[in-house]
Assembly symmetry: C2
Homo-oligomer: 397 residues x 2
């Protein structure tokens, strides 16, 4: 017995070591390394490269003139320096607590960090992740608290005639209790899907942590796919491993709003939730804020809490769904029914700032009651995580 | 209204285009491209590189002498050829239907395919994925059939004093029915975690598809984490984004077997499952096969179906848990209670082939009843997906 066992361990060791070191050519280099003062050192082994650069959302942005599009802000790019061992490195300035993403550019080509297995996909870009600890980013960490469950759930949409996937967060204790919970419907932006709020938005961590701190009511969070022609996120549908593209799937032309009741009905028939206005909330970012605005005005008796995060406001030109007719009358009905919270949040440099300002002027003029939160920065996941962590504690009180 | 809308769309387009093209330097190149005859063309844009190579599990393996370890088989490596546009390419031979993984080696450094967002992590290696359609790999695709749910579920292990995560698959219809379901406990190998059977093993797709074809009973599948010192997979625990390493976490020393009842108890208290031997199965690959062997013999009244996929058989030297004492007596009790299926599967070139052969000789000598399945190939996910798809239809009949 013992001899056979030793063979197993020697071979297992062998397998692990060679699969790591030789087969896939990764190196035993620490990158990224968060230093004591919260600067971060990035390292990349490339003895023969001519240039190694780094780009990431923590670097100062660069203004660049783009023909036909005016001035555009692009993430900064910095150069790494090579040492005698062929390891290139760069140490950032001291960073605020946040979840950051980055990638390398080696001789002009994007490369992921071979020493960091943590990645996130945004539309069709993959970037590496790291987190700087602190009071805000603590909400984005998995902490040693009770954890809710995250469910990849399929439903059938009658109105769209399609099997579609959504993500459901159920709070800690959901399985053990007999309690009916309130529900937040949380919608993604253009290019996102039913995974975006979990991966880029850290929604389950934010919920777990706010509930553990007693700052949020235990609630379900339902994250549907807002691209109504899609079954599910790329790689998760019957399209197989076909690459996501930048064609916008059927969005913002009314069918998300028109088919939304299929989602609410499915959730209320399949999960233990409260089926009443005061226990329903809807919020979303960018296109999802647009969907939240129009769904909540379309069904004025359905949602007591509405959150518009960096929202698009106005319907697409040529979008002639009945959802976009009589907007003013529908808003009047909605606001006359006094939603408890109608929250508008946007960053000072967001390209939708003016559209939101005009919408607020309209609401002010009509004396419709809403709450406004203005942050620094623009149209970024950093802001949307902050908005979610501020919105959640207002719900279901 | 319309003017503001146009601004939104122009900017959204702008954002998408520039985030793709300029910020992250990806290229509009098709890679991998599955050709009509099921050969595959791989492309990589690198005008200044000196060599671009490809490694993947579909290339003929190379025998290599490794000092101290004897002859070892490594995945093959092939050279790509550069065209005048700086695009390197390679076309494979015609491939059998299967899920494959690959990565590039550019001037000696591993690079993922920037034109393929689909990746899988195995321990600390990331590789790109593609699928060749066919009768077996059809089971690994998301097809247009009813889909079960996949739940990231936490439980508290009393015996380990730890909050831990596991994955639960519930079959289509679980939410709507009042039926109690049978359960398969499905265990991963060394270096894996509670995500491995879903990502590398395609377990939810295999279950959905076999259930849709009427070849499998609707069942729950519970995939725990067999590294008992871990809360959860890398990046999903309170350790944060610390990189997985090749140190083996507390495994194969008895504590997985000793704490397994915490998992069964949690599942039976929190999910609608049948609580009887004839409705419980356990199976696993490699280390998970070892766990399945020892858990099922330790609790001879618990599992009516046992699957050992490329299993390690014998306890680790120095593992002195009571789980590994009186093995022969315990096996006698288990086999005397006549499990319906005791299934042993292994590939002809697996390094555990001899250990399994010896174990079968022992079972033969004792006239214990089991079923044996021998495949081509070795210790690979390709085999484990095949074994799962053959094991599932035998359960709960």
């Amino acid at each position: 017995m013992k001899r056979l066992l030793l063979v197993f361990f020697a071979l297992a060791f062998h397998f692990v070591v060679f699969s790591q070191e030789a087969l896939w050519h990764t190196q035993q280099i620490k990158s990224p390394e968060v230093n004591e003062n919260n600067s971060v050192t990035f390292r990349f082994y490339a003895p023969n490269a001519e240039t190694v650069q780094l780009t990431g959302d923590f670097l100062p942005r660069i203004k660049k003139e783009v023909p036909g599009f005016g001035t555009h802000e692009l993430p900064g790019v910095v150069d790494l320096i090579k040492n005698e061992d062929g390891v290139w490195s760069y140490t950032s300035s001291v960073l605020a607590d946040e979840l950051y993403s980055y990638s390398f550019i080696v001789d002009g080509l994007t490369a992921l960090d071979p020493n960091n297995v943590f990645l996130v996909r945004d539309v069709r870009s993959l970037t590496n992740l790291f987190l700087i600890d602190g009071p805000q980013s603590k909400l984005y960490r998995v902490n040693n608290v009770a954890h809710g469950s995250v469910i990849k759930q399929w439903y059938y949409s009658d109105r769209l005639q399609l099997n579609r996937r959504l993500t459901v967060y159920t709070p800690p204790g959901y399985n053990q209790s007999n309690y009916d919970y309130p529900v937040l419907y949380l919608l993604h932006g253009m290019g996102g899907d039913e995974e975006a709020w979990m991966t880029l938005g850290r929604a389950s961590q934010i919920l777990d942590n706010l509930i553990a701190e007693g700052k949020a009511e235990p609630m379900l969070v339902v994250m549907p796919n807002g691209n109504v022609s899609q079954e599910a996120a790329p790689g998760e549908s019957s399209l197989g491993f076909s690459q996501p593209n930048t064609n916008l799937p059927k969005t913002m032309e009314g069918s998300m709003e028109e088919s939304f009741l299929d989602i609410v009905t499915f959730i209320e028939n399949n999960y233990r939730v409260k089926k009443e206005k005061k226990s329903r909330a809807i919020a979303g970012l960018s296109m999802g804020g647009f969907h939240s605005l129009h769904i909540s005005k379309e069904y004025p008796d359905m949602f007591n809490y509405v959150g518009l995060f960096s929202a698009a406001i106005f319907p697409r030109e040529g979008a002639n769904s009945p959802v976009y007719s009589n907007i003013e009358e529908k808003l009047k009905v909605q606001f006359d029914s006094n939603p408890s919270v109608y929250w508008i949040a946007i960053g000072k440099t967001d390209f939708l700032y003016e559209a939101n300002k005009n919408y607020r002027s309209y609401l002010d003029e009509k004396k419709y009651s809403y709450t406004y939160y203005e942050s620094e920065g623009g149209h970024t996941w950093r802001n949307w995580r902050i908005y979610l962590s501020k919105f959640i504690p207002m719900l279901f009180k």
